[in-house]
């Protein structure tokens, strides 16, 4: 949107100083129109008040089932979508206050790796052009120096630099994902949003890409927002994990802590669904009744109350606050205290 400045309502105080990215009360509602005249009939509340922060050099995992708004959150943080409300601070500056040119410059700092390695690479461009385009656009390198840099990048992600003139279809899924990682790395970004980067790959290839991402993080001091629905993958790679349900983050905490000591009933149910590698082992699975309610018309109060087995009257009326219960473990549940006592 050329030059369009959006005034956003931000609740709360100034952005924190020690974080790379802070997301504050972010909302993204998609209008739904109907009828001949395109009358507005409602909103899909894909992201409905999300707040979290990412510290430099860490990996924040974001999990949730499909349709819970993880991907939309990632897209809005990169400003590929404009938010309905809320703010995203990158190194202290609200990115929604930036003009077009400032935003273009900021894009050097934040990049994305996509889920589908088949649709995320332009089939008409060579690997050299795909990885090198960003260098050209930002005036970092062109011609020979661009080619040299692209070869370096291919080498870094474990591809043969001699394949620079090949087209994406000449590579396997895992190799294509490496090309996507090389493209994201080209401008030396600080933040990379990994949008389900291994979900489309074979299990054997998944671990290769995960290891690559971890190696790159150590080498280039990268910060990741790692969006996924595979809990084991997220537990493996993340320092901290946020759990999303129906457009909201219901629980967020250190990976170890969250997996060992889930406080939100949804997290509990989710964790109990992780398959155990030992068929002899039995455990109590928490089976959630019913389906996820429609984001078009989310339930009142706590969004999870329709499926929660501990539900109380207060859950239907009031949206629970997202509070720190200590040690940067946040949870949005009315019953957190009462259940602790039990």
């Amino acid at each position: 949107m050329p030059g369009k400045r959006r005034q956003v309502a931000v609740s709360g105080e100034e952005p924190r100083g020690d974080v790379l990215v802070e997301v504050k009360d972010l909302k993204k509602w998609f209008p739904v129109t109907g009828g001949v005249f395109g009358r507005l009939v409602g909103h899909v509340k894909a992201v409905d008040g999300v707040s979290f922060y990412i510290k430099p050099g860490e990996t924040l995992g974001l999990v949730g089932e499909s349709g819970c708004g993880k991907t939309t959150t990632g897209r809005v943080i990169l400003r590929l979508l404009e938010p309905t409300e809320g703010a995203v601070y990158f190194e202290g500056a609200n990115i929604f206050d930036l003009n077009r040119e400032q935003m273009r410059r900021l894009r050097r700092q934040m990049q994305i790796v996509f889920q589908d390695p088949y649709s995320s690479l332009n089939p008409r461009m060579t690997v050299g052009d795909i990885v090198g385009e960003a260098l050209e656009i930002h005036g970092v390198a062109r011609g020979r120096s661009k080619e040299k840099r692209v070869r370096e990048l291919l080498d870094v992600v474990g591809l043969n630099p001699q394949h620079i003139r090949r087209y994406p279809h000449e590579f396997s899924g895992g190799q294509r994902q490496r090309i996507g990682v090389a493209r994201a790395l080209a401008l030396n970004p600080k933040l990379i949003i990994c949008d389900e980067p291994v979900s489309a790959l074979d299990v054997s290839i998944q671990s290769q890409i995960l290891n690559l991402l971890e190696d790159l993080q150590a080498e280039f001091n990268l910060t990741y927002l790692f969006i996924a629905h595979n809990l084991s993958v997220v537990k493996h790679i993340s320092d901290r994990v946020g759990v999303m349900y129906l457009g909201q983050v219901v629980e967020l905490g250190g990976a170890e802590e969250l997996f060992a000591n889930p406080l939100h009933p949804y997290t509990e149910a989710l964790l109990s669904a992780i398959p155990l590698p030992d068929p002899e082992l039995k455990r109590d699975r928490i089976i959630l009744e019913g389906d996820v309610p429609s984001p078009l018309n989310p339930p009142s109060g706590c969004h999870f109350h329709t499926r929660c087995r501990w539900v109380q009257p207060i859950c239907r009326d009031e949206n629970p606050p997202f509070v720190d219960v200590g040690d940067e473990h946040f949870v949005a549940c009315h019953l957190r205290k009462t259940r602790e006592k039990q």
């Binding site: 897209r75 990169l78 590929l80 935003m103 273009r104 410059r105 894009r107 050097r108 934040m110 990049q111 994305i112 996509f114 889920q115 589908d116 649709s119 995320s120 690479l121 332009n122 089939p123 008409r124 461009m125 060579t126 050299g128 052009d129 090198g132 385009e133 960003a134 050209e136 656009i137 930002h138 661009k146 080619e147 003139r165 087209y167 279809h169 996507g180 493209r183 080209a186 401008l187």
Partner: protein, 287 residues
């Protein structure tokens, strides 16, 4: 663009050489283009020279394709006629391709109101029968080569816009476009550098097919007396002039007709070959 485009075209050239149909198309179109360019050198006589002692001669020595009602050499007139036909094809198609591709890309990529307005305009244009629109424009503006370009160009763009919009619509949500925007690529570069190359195959088919259609349309308009004006020879007007002598001297109709058919055939072959050659997903080896 960097080496990617060079690679694309180098590869396309190689593959075009291997495809027999495309090679034939290239030879036909190339021959016609050379004939048009070198008409003054190649033609045995000036196309307008009359010889009233030798009218309606059948093909034979001195006049390989015979003479017409005014004793003009048919071969010379056909060679000069290629100029009109090819120029009309190229200019009118360039015009309709430029307008059609631009509007189609914008409509498909931007969507919303832009799309709505552009597509309603396209539908409005498509309501008129092609030839009738061209005839109407020619009558309104007066016949002449520029009118011909404009009329045929205006007839062609809505189809092109619709085709390109469909392609763009299918591609607009692909993640590589999002990736381009995420790296800070401007909208113009996203449209022309990323979206357009992926719509190229159908555009090439449409342009080469459109060339053939333009040559036909030019012939039709000239046949109706609305195209090239005498004494400029064009294939369509030659057909028109030869029509009254169909029984007496059929070569007056046969040769211009064959020339039109050959040109149309050549462009169609070339179009198919180019489509195959420009698609990097196709393997380099036939079969």
């Amino acid at each position: 663009m960097g080496y990617g485009m060079d690679g694309l075209w180098a590869r396309a050239r190689r593959r075009l050489g291997r495809n027999r149909g495309a090679r034939a198309g290239l030879v036909i179109v190339g021959t016609l283009a050379v004939a048009a360019l070198l008409a003054p050198v190649l033609a045995p006589q000036p196309p307008g020279r009359m010889d009233l002692d030798r009218v309606l001669l059948p093909p034979g020595p001195g006049h390989p394709l015979g003479t017409d009602y005014f004793g003009r050499d048919m071969l010379s007139r056909l060679i000069y006629g290629a100029r009109v036909s090819l120029t009309v094809g190229v200019v009118a198609q360039s015009l309709s391709a430029t307008v059609g591709v631009t509007l189609g890309l914008v409509a498909g990529y931007c969507g919303g109101w832009t799309d709505l307005v552009i597509m309603r305009l396209v539908e409005l244009m498509l309501c008129f029968p092609d030839l009738l629109l061209a005839v109407g424009l020619t009558v309104a503006l007066g016949p002449g080569p520029y009118t011909l370009f404009l009329a045929l160009g205006l007839v062609g763009w809505p189809g092109m816009a619709r085709l390109v919009r469909g392609e763009a619509l299918a591609l607009r949500d692909r993640e590589f476009l999002e990736a381009a925007r995420a790296t800070g690529t401007g909208p113009v570069r996203v449209l022309w550098g990323h979206l357009f190359p992926n719509c190229l195959s159908p555009v090439i088919i449409a342009v080469t097919g459109g060339m053939a259609a333009c040559i036909m349309a030019e012939a039709s308009l000239s046949f109706l007396g609305l195209g090239a004006q005498p004494p400029t020879p064009s294939w369509g007007s030659m057909l028109n002039l030869g029509r009254p002598y169909l029984h007496l001297a059929p070569h007056l109709v046969i040769f211009p007709g064959l020339a039109i058919a050959l040109a149309v055939f050549g462009f169609n072959l070339l179009g198919d070959g180019l489509r195959d050659a420009l698609d990097p997903r196709r393997s380099d080896f036939p079969g």
